[in-house]
Symmetry: C2
Subunit: 280 residues, 2 copies
């Protein structure tokens, strides 16, 4: 548990999710239905019902590096001094824009009468996870978009999308690295980022049974669709959710995993930083 | 998606977690490894690897009713007006004390050099869940505590605690109902709430392999241990985490479930509201 004595808010660098070492106890208790084995950082492995169950953490550590915008993505914290300090208690007040870091967009984000975060049924937040690997085209185009053909390609290999799933775009995009890189690019290139195209979103709404879509970038819309947000508008207003800022999709199979959307059910919220996990 | 047009922050009553209807798609796609069936509110059921997988949401909706203290437990939100409003975007700035609602205490909460929330390995947040049913004594004593005997009783029935588990105290305590009730009681009675006793905490630290403890009340210490917090001190300083404010333990078996601690990994945080789920 290497800690840091410095208590100034937000002054430390990004640790990176993969800095975590996932070790659980070595020996299983005789009665354990669930036991653990050492695995790679950022992941864990349990034994569940006698079979291995892999856990992959799809979440970026939420650091001030994600303060992309003073009004839309920002987190800061302030230590609270109080009576608890006498017995060594530390706690903080967080100032947090809902859509910061790896986070969920609830329907309310683009629909005044849509479900807030606290209103999304739990069955919509534990769902089959489908990974669309579009890294090849994303390597050629910062603004690559998921198209209906990408979905059909996946289905040719794996069968029809499972009912009630989340479809995640794997573009190989790291929003922090790309933000730094974007600072060296012309404005026109810097605003490009991969996301779902409107045609694919419409296909998933009207022709499939899908609860959510997820991307590694900080918008489910492509960067060039930023000002109008056609996918946000269509998707969230259809009552579905989105996730932005996923990571570690390299560790997840294209089909067969369950996505856990670990979102604190904040009343009236339009979104919230989450813990996103894949189990398979 | 019944919503509410009122956009004033924090003016709505508590909806209650069980208001959520957990329905996923009815028919399984031919290729689906994971499919869903209708189940009771607050829970969901998937088919995973050909067997049913139950999900129970152990989380209270985080409403302003959890604003128990202006400095220690508080949430409020403020709508952000910006360019996004032109296309119908809603988003909020949250002011949030880390230890509000159903939440995790990271070791850092009581240990300056302990792990912050972002430093807890993912393998420590997906763990076997053990439920100690102490409702009988909790019905007689608002300040009931988990003792070493309660742990030994559980082990007589189920075998030794599984390695790396979370031990949850089921007292049948609803912090919101009890807070209202407490307002009608003498101060001496009102400050009583069920939690882990120091002896049980020490036993779990030194004689078992346990990652975390969890309670339904808003403190892992009993109410009368409030000012000194001996369990917070011993437990969190040993590098382990706690969860406060769990609900729905009635729907979870005493052994065999996995606990998902859906905590957004906020850098340097001492705690955070979470989504806690049981899978079994």
């Amino acid at each position: 548990m290497a800690g840091d004595e410095t208590r100034e808010p937000m002054d430390l660098g990004r640790r990176g999710l993969l800095g975590a070492l996932a070790l659980l106890g070595a020996a299983a208790a005789p009665s354990a239905e669930v036991r653990a084995e050492p695995v790679a950082p950022g992941a864990a492995r349990l034994s569940f019902r006698g079979s291995p169950l892999n856990v992959v953490d799809l979440t970026h550590e939420l650091t001030p590096e994600f303060n992309f915008s003073p009004t839309r993505t920002r987190i800061s914290m302030q230590a609270i001094e109080g009576s608890g300090a006498a017995v060594g208690m530390n706690l903080n007040l967080l100032y947090l824009v809902e859509h910061t870091g790896t986070h969920i967009d609830a329907p309310r984000h683009f629909a005044n009468d849509g479900a807030s975060l606290g209103q999304i049924p739990i069955g919509d937040l534990v769902v089959p996870l489908v990974v669309l690997d579009v890294r090849e085209k994303a390597a050629k185009d910062r603004n690559a978009q998921v198209t209906p053909d990408d979905i059909r390609d996946w289905e040719r290999r794996h069968g029809r999308l499972p009912d009630g799933c989340c479809v995640a775009m794997r573009a190989g995009w790291d929003p922090l690295a790309e933000r730094r890189r974007g600072a060296t690019l012309p404005a026109d290139a810097a605003r490009r980022s991969p996301g779902f195209g409107p045609e694919a979103a419409q296909m998933l709404i009207s022709e499939r049974s899908v609860k959510g879509i997820a991307v590694e970038a900080m918008s489910i819309d492509t960067g060039t669709n930023g000002p109008a947000y056609p996918v946000h508008q269509a998707w969230l207003r259809s009552g579905r959710w989105g996730i932005e800022g996923l990571t570690n999709l390299a560790g997840v199979p294209e089909t067969g995993a369950i996505l856990i959307v670990g979102a604190a059910p904040v009343h009236d919220a339009t979104g919230m930083p989450i813990r996103a996990l894949a189990l398979f």
